[in-house]
Amino acid sequence: MKQPLEDQRTTVYKVDPEHPENRALPTLRTEEMMLNMGPQHPSTHGVLKVVLALEGERIVKATPVMGYLHRGVEKLAEDGTYHQFIPHTDRLDYICAMYNNFAYCRAVEKLVGITIPPRAEYLRTIVAEIQRIIGHQFWLGTQALDIGAMTVFFYTFRDREILLDFFDELCGARLTTSWYRIGGVERDFTPELIEKLRRFVDYFPPKIDEYVTFLETNRIWLSRTKGVAVISAEDAISFGLSGPTLRGSGVDYDLRKFEPYAAYGECDWSVPVGKNGDTYDRYWIRVEEMRQSLKMVKQLLEKLPDGPVMASVPSITLPPKDKVFNDLASMIQQFKLFSEGFKPPKGEIYCGTEAAKGELGFYIVSNGEGKPYRLKIRAPSFIHMGAFDYMAKGYMIADVVTIFGTYDIVMGECDR
C-alpha cells in the first residue's frame, strides 16, 4: 500500500539537524542513491530507461529517459502520400496495429470529408474490437508475468494466437496488418471467417473467467496490484491520461461513447469505470472491456449489412484490386493515387480514436498538396509517461514494474 512519503522519511531516515542525538538509526547512510533501470529491462516493453532517485528502497524521483525507439515517423509522414503512411502506423503500437490504421484512416477521412459504406463501418468496428481484445490479452499476460504471476501468460497467448490467425486469414499478416484503407477496408470477410468469429464469440467468455481465476486467487498478484500506482481523477485528467488508465480513476471518458464513430452507436454496450484508480481497477476494466468487445462483435456480426467495403470516390479511394489488372481506368487511378496522391483541401483537423491503450489522435495540417504538411500523433503511451514520476513517488523499486505495466505501455508508440 502507498505510504505518505514524509512519514517514511521522518520516522526512519531523516535526521533533525538541531537534535542529531534523537536519530533513530545512527549508523544508517541517508544520502539518495541513483539507479538506472533500463534501457534493457524485460519489463519495459521496448527500450525505456528510468533514472530512479532512491532513499533506501523508496522512490524519491523517477525520471523517464525516452527516445531509444525514435524513428521520426512524423517527419517521414511529410515525405509520403496519405496512402503511403498507413504501413507506418502499424509500427507505432505494434501490438494493436489495426487500431492505429483505423485511427489514421478516420483522421484522413475527416480531412477529405468522405463517408464510408455501412458494411465497411461494421467490418472496421468488428476488427477494431478484436484488436482491442488482443491488446488486453497481451497486457494481461505480460503485466502478470512482469510481477511474478506466470501462468496466465500462457493462457492469454494461447487465445491471442487464435485471433492473430484470423488476421492472417483476413490480410496475410499477423501483426503489421495495414488492412484499413482510406475510404474503407482492403477486403471483405470470407463466409468461413465470419463462421469462425461466431464460434470464437462462444468460445472466449469461459476463457476470460479462467484468466480471472488465475489472478484473483493469487495473493501475491493481488497485493502487488491493489493500491499500487494510484492516481486521483483530478490529477489523471490534468495529466491527460486516457483509456483504461483514466477510467480506472472513475472518469467515464471514452471516445466511443462521447463522439460515437464507426458502428459503435449501433450496438448495446457499456463503459466499465473503476473507483480506486489503482492497478487492480485498471486490470478489472480491461477484463470487462474484453467482455464488452465480445458483446459488440456478437451484435455486429448479427446485423452485418451487405454492400461494398470501400467508398467509391475515384479521386481519393483505391480501386478494387481485381479491377486494377483488368480495367484501364482503374489502373490509372491506382497509379495516380500512389505516385502523386490525392489533394485534400487546405485546413487542419484533429481526430481522436479510442484505441486499446487510450486516445490515439492524429492532428493533420494540409496545405492542399498530395502530402501532409504536418502530421502529429497524439500517442497515449507518451502522455502516460508524463505522469510516471508523479505516480511512482513513494513506492518501492519493485513497484516500478507494476507502474510501467499499469499504462499498457508500448515504446514504439511512445517514441514514434
Binding site: 527516445g67 512524423e74 485528467i237 490534468s238 491527460g240 487542419e348 483537423i349 509517461m385
Partner: protein, 164 residues
Amino acid sequence: MHPVAERIQQVFPAGFQRAVEWRGDLAVQVSREHIHEICRYLHDNPDMDYDYIVHVSSVDWPDEAERFEVVYEVYSIRRRARIRVKTRVPEDDCIVDSMTNIWKGADFMEREVFDMMGIRFRNHPNLIRILMPDDYPEGYPLRKDFPLRGKGWRDTFSFIGEKN
C-alpha cells in the same frame, strides 16, 4: 461565430485574433502575449471547463513572418467540447508561456515541441530534449529546413564490402 470563440473575443479583445470552424473543429488564433491568460480562463471558468489536455503541437511555416505556430488542443470532459488554441511566434524570438501550471500533462508535450521544433517555453520546469539525445547538435528535426535524411553524418559510416 462559435459561442466559445465569441466569449473569448469579448473577454480578451486584445488577445483574440480569429476563429475558424472547419469539419466540426473549432480553432482560435490568439496573440502570444495573451495565450496563457486565455488558457487559464478556458481551464478555470466554470462555463468553459476545459480540463483535459489533448495535445500540444507545432507547425513550421518558413515563408511567413511569424514562422512557428504553437497549437494547444484541449477538451472539456463535462461539456464534451473541444477547442484548439493557436499562437504564432517569430523565428528569432520563439518563446511561449508554458501551460504546465494549468495542465500538468503539458510538461512532456511542451518538451516534445521544444525537442522537435526548437520553440522554448517560459516558466517550464524542465525544458530539455526528450526524444532526441540530450547532446544532439544538429538542430530541430521537424523544422522544414531539416533534411529528411539527416544532416549527413550517416555518410561518414563505412559499409561492409565498401573500399575506402
